[in-house]
Symmetry: C2
Amino acid sequence: LGHSQVDKAASRERILAEASGQIRREGLESLSVGKLMGKAGLTHGGFYGHFPSREALLAEALARALADGSGDARRAAARQDRPAGLAGFVRSYLSRAHRDAPEAGCAIAALVCDAGRASEPCRAAMEDQVEGMIDSLQRQLGGADEAEAMAAVATLVGALALSRVFTDEKRSDAMLRAAREQVTAMRTSET
Amino acid sequence: LGHSQVDKAASRERILAEASGQIRREGLESLSVGKLMGKAGLTHGGFYGHFPSREALLAEALARALADGSGDARRAAARQDRPAGLAGFVRSYLSRAHRDAPEAGCAIAALVCDAGRASEPCRAAMEDQVEGMIDSLQRQLGGADEAEAMAAVATLVGALALSRVFTDEKRSDAMLRAAREQVTAMRTSET
DNA sequence: TGTACATCAGTGAACGCGCGTTCACTGATGTAC
DNA sequence: TGTACATCAGTGAACGCGCGTTCACTGATGTAC
């Protein structure tokens, strides 16, 4: 059991990473201090050496989740040198892999509904990330007006969230495919 | 304090109606037996004369919420004699009134994220309602293929859910407008 | 380099609280005569 | 129509449980000499 400063930083990191996955997998309210510490290999009492309260961790974990999931994906998509550009981003965003691993994926799609009910900091963090995704898509759409980018975001987020509702995998796949076609067609009709 | 059989039926109705609104306003997990009974004008102990458990009520309340919100809206949209048809449905679905009153609105948009994490009956009920909304939109789109209807549903649900994340009302309105334009344009390009 | 000690990461018992659920009870209802 | 009584809708105290949080403690860390 490490007691050094480096170990503490590593513990904090493990706690945050675990929390960031947990909230994307089962929602903001699912995060329990005791269980979280257990998964991080520690006991519940140590939690308050890292964060002042569950609520404070929640805000930080959401920020982390948004950066991990949506942020990474958007940055990848925004890279000019990427072969496929928009089509590549849409393909990966609406992929089975993304649908089946919400804990590693876009926190916007995983938590849209929770966001409106959450504390102000959580809500603000989510809002910023949505704006970021709109910007990113507008650029990818090649100078389309913002309304088109907004509609594209709605389609992407809605389709991914809905694809996770279906128990029948074929229907779920169909939902992803339908949205992929629509968003990809938006570019084609623009350029 | 009524003790008749009619009164009991009315109590059950009040409990269900209250629960159906509560879960759409604050999520499935937000439903508390004690608070719910309080809002229905009763004490917590009486709950088990109406439902066997919180979980059982949850499934019934979700079914009710889906029927109230999405069902009503879809049925209205499906009526052939309605002046505007699809455009009318889309306008009301993506209206400020709908956004600002989730407790009376579409349960799909209010609970997409919660659905995947919920018990099997809840998930199945949600799944059915999504299929129903796809069917309804396909008919409204005038014989478009199912993929287009699915993409339209994703856009509608995604935009409504996202519009509730924004604190800035102008951005929220813009999201609704953007999706309205896109879905309405789908019909135009079809017919 | 080696020892003495202050620091502090992590432990685990304990707390108050709200939850879902149970149950003995109360008193209005509605039926049998 | 009027009375006696079984039914049962609703009450509120009590339960066990898991939660977030606190705190006295332990023992490894890393610094001062």
